[in-house]
Symmetry: C2
Subunit: 332 residues, 2 copies
């Protein structure tokens, strides 16, 4: 099993991507990791020799703030392009990047392409994330790949979400909800209403519209479907609110000596909560619909998030999640 | 100064609306409160005689789950219609309801109408809420009145948001951000992009696109503008995430004896955080654009939230916020 990691992608690359790769490689000897990027820079951060880590050298890479299309045109040997080509040629079984999301999406669309089988042709890949909710994880997709969507995309997202939930999370007959601003069936834009009708007439376990408040609180459904604009707003609001609460706790706890002692006593609990909420702990987002396992780790991913992403990739490779799309989906 | 409260609106009406009205009336003797609703039911919950509380009797009211248009047609004497007519006829200076949001919006649109002056005509009213962020409050609008918006609506929302921020929060030259899925200027749907251009060429203190993560964390801007779909998604995700974190804390704290003791010691801090996050503490949402002060309290509002809404209404009456729209806005 071989996994390519874009060593140059992410706010803390290559230091943290290399460290994460080393930890993943040490923990799983049957795994081969290919670090794609500037060999000299990568070696500076390597702590020793790893029999199961190799380097695919390229000097170019897309920076976080660059405009994806322009950067990819200007840098045909960017690490993300090299990695995407390896995935296309099946030289690796999965690709992980914490770099520029737009560049990852464009590079994989261009150089790997979408899933196409006799039965189904994926119209758009969706960024699929695992939302931490109270009882159980909810798969949210699309979390940002397609700001504007047609109802036909959303139904495919729902089908792919169910494949994720079933095979990766282990849920039998996953429930599906459409993210909306009310649970009544006449809510939302024309696209949302048409998507609702499509989902209702599908053979999915569709539970109707769900509000993000209920999803976050109760994990109301196993799969929450949205256009990429709405999904991204949900993800970023949840992220910001989580940080807001953490900061408020720190502020109020340091205001008074009893609270301070109390704060020390519950430090362990807090670490656990931060872990529960941190979606890098859940291994990053799958660009589901690309014809190969392609995982986007958080831009601020540290080594443990990279290591987690590798673990998720391994699970997805073992479960043959891409193959499942061809086996279980069909043009309704 | 007279304020009408829809006594029958809200999950805990009339018990909590009546109790909230009593507290507000006791705290401010110069205020007159008119409870609109079923006299018999209201009196059952009144704890005594209040010289500054009167009742405007009507037996009909819109229930929380009813379809707004149908309910208003069927019940011409619904409490919310009676209250809206009082606002229109200037028999009261403000209206507060914790009831069905759609019904409140339709009733006020129909029976009060939008702000129209020589200089400006409000195209759509926007639900304007005060988001609790870390450093300072951010006014979010539209938080749900108009799921689909034109750029011309969004620029009016921004202008109204600035009036709110300036006169109610006390911010000089408030900053404005457009809620988007990235801070780059080419992000989002066609409507968002066109709104961006309009805002950029306006004389507002426009800071460009802002992501909800930054707003929640840092209170990046004083006024955050969005279409009602996006704004509502932000509000409900923040609400759900806040509750999720609180529930996670409770779960982990009760897991171990030290954490339990710690939890007790920081109870006060938590109460404060809950207060910081609870937007009912901020007095509910203004239906800004209606030609009269019309405040929507949370459906789950208890008496303290109603009391707070009255306080906010008093501030808005004193600051003549509706008049400010005519004075400070113009068709650009």
């Amino acid at each position: 099993m071989r996994i390519a990691i874009d060593a140059m992608g992410g706010d803390y690359a290559p230091a943290e991507t290399v460290k994460g790769a080393e930890k993943a490689a040490s923990g799983n000897k049957s795994l081969e990791i290919v670090l794609v990027g500037d060999e000299k820079k990568i070696k500076e951060h390597m702590s020793g020799d790893f029999p199961n880590i190799s380097i695919s050298h390229t000097e170019e890479y897309v920076e976080m703030h660059e405009s994806p299309s322009a950067a990819l045109r200007k840098k045909p040997n960017a690490s993300i392009i090299v990695a995407a080509k390896m995935l296309k040629e099946r030289k690796v079984d999965a690709l992980i990047s914490a770099g520029n999301t737009g560049a990852l999406l464009e590079a994989t669309l261009l150089y790997v392409g979408r899933i196409k089988t006799d039965k189904v042709k994926i119209k758009r890949p969706a960024i699929s994330v695992v939302l931490p909710t109270f009882n159980k994880p909810t798969i949210l997709l699309d979390a940002g790949a397609n700001p504007e969507c047609k109802p036909e995309y959303l139904i495919q997202f729902a089908q792919m979400g169910c494949i994720y939930s079933k095979h990766i999370i282990g849920v039998d007959n996953p429930t599906v909800g459409l993210i909306n601003i009310g649970s009544e069936d006449n809510k939302g834009s024309a696209v949302i209403k048409a998507s609702y009708e499509l989902l209702k007439s599908s053979n999915l376990n569709f539970k109707g519209n769900v509000e993000p408040s209920t999803i976050m609180k109760n994990g109301e459904v196993d799969v929450a479907v949205a256009d990429g604009f709405t999904g991204n707003i949900v993800l970023k609001t949840a992220e910001g609110t989580g940080e807001l609460v953490t900061r408020l706790i720190k502020k109020h706890v340091s205001n008074n000596i009893f609270a301070k002692i109390g704060g020390l006593l519950i430090k362990g609990a807090f670490r656990q909560i931060k872990k529960d909420l941190d979606h890098s702990e859940h291994g990053g987002a799958l660009l589901f619909g690309i014809d190969g396992i392609c995982i986007k780790a958080h831009g601020r991913a540290k080594h443990d998030a990279i290591e987690n992403a590798v673990k998720v990739a391994v699970r997805m490779i073992n479960k043959e999640i891409i193959k499942k799309v061809g086996e279980e989906m069909s043009e309704k």
